[in-house]
Amino acid sequence: MLPYIGRRLLATIPVMAVVAVVVFSLLRLAAGDPAAIIAGDNATSQDVAAIRARLGLDRPLVEQFAIWVGRVVRGDFGESFFFKKQVSELILDRVEPTLALSVCTLVLTIALAVPLGVLAAWKRGSWIDRAVMGFSVLGFSVPVFVIGYVLIYVFAIELAWLPVQGYQRIGDGVGGFLERLVLPSITLAVVFVALIARITRASVLEVLNADHVRTARAKGLGELPVLLRHVLRNAAVPIVTVIGIGIAVLIGGVVVTESVYGIPGLGRLTVDAVLARDYPTVQAVILVFSVVYVLINLLVDLSYTVLDPRIRY
């Protein structure tokens, strides 16, 4: 197992190198000039040129890339063009809201989607099954921002139960922290629940017809133990895989959800940085997201050995 983990971790190095080259090139190829943005609308060409020189953007691309990579290797993402702060400081500052939103969404999703999927499969063809599948189609079809606005209108404006926007750090009070996460988490969870409930249903359906399940029932086991011990566990590998893949969906959703709910997380930082052509920040955030994604995939792969003893690395 350990050599496998070591190999997988080593394999992340070329992945990161490719990500670094692609991100750096894409940003430089994209239209827009951070110096012109920083200088403001009334600035002259001379002002813009002076800022460009100060930021080092007048140097050859290869030289800029070499300087950036050299710093990243030493763990220094550089300074943001706009915020006058170290990018690592900016990222650390924004991690908590995004992490909190992601974890809440994930917990909510798993708590809802897996039971719903199992229930739909177990009651295949019934109104429950049709209701769950109907919800899934709806969840896929409605854009995240529409769900967000509808929830805000109902629960924040009309009923005034929850705040419209904002984030409260957990250190400033758990009540306010949770209160501000409810609507964003539900918004983000809708698509995720739809995805995982469908996969769970399909996966459980396949196992429900397996011989070992029939045998378990024949020996007199109740439906709940059959579903939990014999069905769900054997259906878990594809479900966990989809949850892992879903993290990518989650990262995309976080960007929109954080904007709709005014949450100062990594998603908003990414959008702001892209719009402002803040190269060091965009590069660093995408690298961080890539590392997270690679590590989640590794964890998913490792979880297979726990869920299915036949799998060995």
Binding site: G40, S45, F82, K84, A156, V260, G262, P264, A276
Partner: protein, 523 residues
């Protein structure tokens, strides 16, 4: 029993009355038009940074509601008979946020840093022979020749504003951002609470000594009536409006016009007309390349356009726009219709005739169209339609504003990544006279993007700068305007206004070209 309860209740009330109400901290929560990322108002011209500057810095002079320049940090000033020496004395009791007194050394260093960056400051310094410090409270500006620019430049309301900073800060290279945010303005910037992308926080500066006069636009007494002002950054306009309706914020600086009906319909929200002079839509030419290198072709655009179509397409509600056939904003001292008679009336026949006269060869006009700023998005298609009706071929290229900002700096031909024209909007306070109006700068390479090159306009602008008599200044401004119709550098496309929605509990918002937060109360 009932009597005992009554007595107990009265006793409790009396006790409460003796104790008095709890004095809770008053925080005004505002959503500004942009996030505060940069905090040096001399380094950048961005409006959000200018607004930040007005929170924490003070100015020597300031513009009042009538457009006149009044002393602000200045107690008194004298102009010598030959109009070559301005002797300026600071008010008593001015201090920096760190408690140190404001001195003339600080002010002179601040003027020098500002004038190195600001175009009007540069113009002013062209007239300045020397700035002499007399003592800690008095300094002199000695000129080479008389100019009417001194007060106008030092009391300039918009970017770059000559904000006063401590000498140690003002000595920072103008092309390097400052990192010490000590000011002497009515608010103190809470650097420790500043979270770019989330909020910027300002606390009342208790030692600030306001002028005794009532506030008037950016001049007069800056009396702060709340404890804190929080600029909360909510990028999504709809969410910001929802937050206002739900009472989570108190004030929206600039929502899109489309959302104003929602604010109007809410019983707890009111619309406040904060900037009576408003803003001006503008069509900017690139004079470097064919066909706009020919003034006659640019004149044709003047005939093809009309202002109403642009204003209707963007603003819609006539309550928030005004047709204003003048380069300087209607309602401002230099405004005049002179020279624009018969123009901006969509006379397509005249436009086509001028194009024929100019031998326009059908070169497509590369029109940069910004798509992500609500207030600019609809201008492009209207311009395209009117230009085509006026005989032009148009290639409208859509892009986000930041891409446009980068592309407009390129002097290359349009086919090689350059451009012919774009549309933007100016805050009226930035374009009050020929020297302030950046797009009127026709000094060729030194001019703003578009690079117009006209000796006559430049000569008139210099005359304006030298003139000290307001009536003669206006005559020169009219002459510049007439010249602009012959050698168009840009075209004014009408004035528009945007009220700021606030909670009804908010009062005392000052009408000014810049959103300011002194005098504002919150119940």
């Amino acid at each position: 029993m009932t009597l005992r309860r009554l007595i107990a209740g009265l006793t409790a009330l009396a006790a409460l009355a003796l104790v008095g109400p709890a004095t809770a901290e008053t925080t005004l929560r505002v959503v500004m038009h942009s996030d505060l990322k940069i905090v040096d108002p001399i380094w950048t011209t961005a409006y959000i940074v200018r607004n930040h500057g007005y929170m924490i810095y003070d100015t020597l002079f300031a513009m009042d509601a009538k457009g006149e320049i009044r002393p602000q940090m200045v107690d008194k000033y004298e102009v010598s008979k030959d109009q070559l020496t301005y002797t300026i004395t600071l008010r008593d009791g001015l201090s920096w946020h760190d408690g140190k007194p404001v001195t003339t050394e600080d002010c002179v260093a601040s003027i020098k840093r500002w004038s190195a960056k600001d175009s009007m400051g540069q113009k002013l310094m062209g007239f300045v022979k020397d700035i002499q410090i007399v003592n800690a409270k008095t300094f002199k500006i000695v000129l080479n020749e008389p100019t009417g620019l001194v007060l106008g430049a030092l009391g300039k309301p918009s970017s770059n504003v000559p904000f006063m900073m401590p000498k140690r800060v003002a000595e920072t290279d103008p092309n390097t951002q400052i990192s010490d945010f000590t000011g002497s303005g009515p608010f103190v910037f809470k650097k420790d609470e500043w979270k770019p992308g989330d909020k910027a926080v300002y606390a009342r500066f208790d030692k600030y000594r306001p002028r005794p006069e009532p506030p008037s636009a950016l001049a007069g007494g800056k009396v702060v009536k709340v404890d804190r002002v929080e600029w909360k950054w909510i990028p999504d306009h709809q969410t910001a409006m929802n937050a206002l309706i739900a009472g989570e914020v108190d004030y929206l600086e600039a929502p899109p016009h489309d959302l104003l009906p929602i604010a109007k319909a809410d019983p707890n929200v009111k619309l406040v007309d904060v900037n009576p002079l408003g803003n001006q839509f503008t069509f900017r030419f690139n004079t470097l390349h064919k066909p706009f290198d020919n003034a006659k072709v640019r004149q044709a655009v003047f005939y093809a356009f009309n202002q109403e179509d642009f204003l209707k397409a963007v603003v819609g509600d006539p309550a928030y726009y005004k047709v204003c056939k003048a380069f300087f904003p209607c309602g401002s001292p230099m405004s005049s219709p002179k020279g624009l008679e018969g123009l901006l009336e969509s006379n397509f026949e005249k436009s086509r005739a001028l194009l024929k006269e100019a031998s326009y060869d059908g070169t497509p006009i590369v029109l940069m169209h910004s798509t992500d700023l609500a207030v600019l998005t609809n201008l492009g298609p209207v311009a395209k339609s009117l230009l085509e009706k006026g005989g032009f071929k148009v290639d409208m290229v859509s892009m986000d504003w930041q891409t446009l900002v980068a592309r407009r700096a390129k002097k290359e031909p349009p086919a090689a990544g350059g451009w012919h024209a774009f549309l933007t909007s100016w805050v009226a306070a930035d374009i009050l006279n020929p020297v302030m109006m950046g797009f009127m700068n026709a000094s060729c390479d030194k001019a703003m993007f578009g690079w117009p090159c006209d000796k006559e306009i430049e000569s008139l602008r210099d005359q304006f700068a030298r003139e000290t008599n307001p009536a003669r200044q206006k005559a020169i401004a009219e002459a510049v305007q007439v010249r602009e119709t012959q050698y168009p550098t840009h075209i004014p496309l009408g004035q528009w206004y945007l009220p700021s929605p606030t909670r009804k509990s908010v009062d005392g918002v000052i009408q000014a070209p810049v959103p300011v937060f002194w005098n504002v109360t919150k119940k």
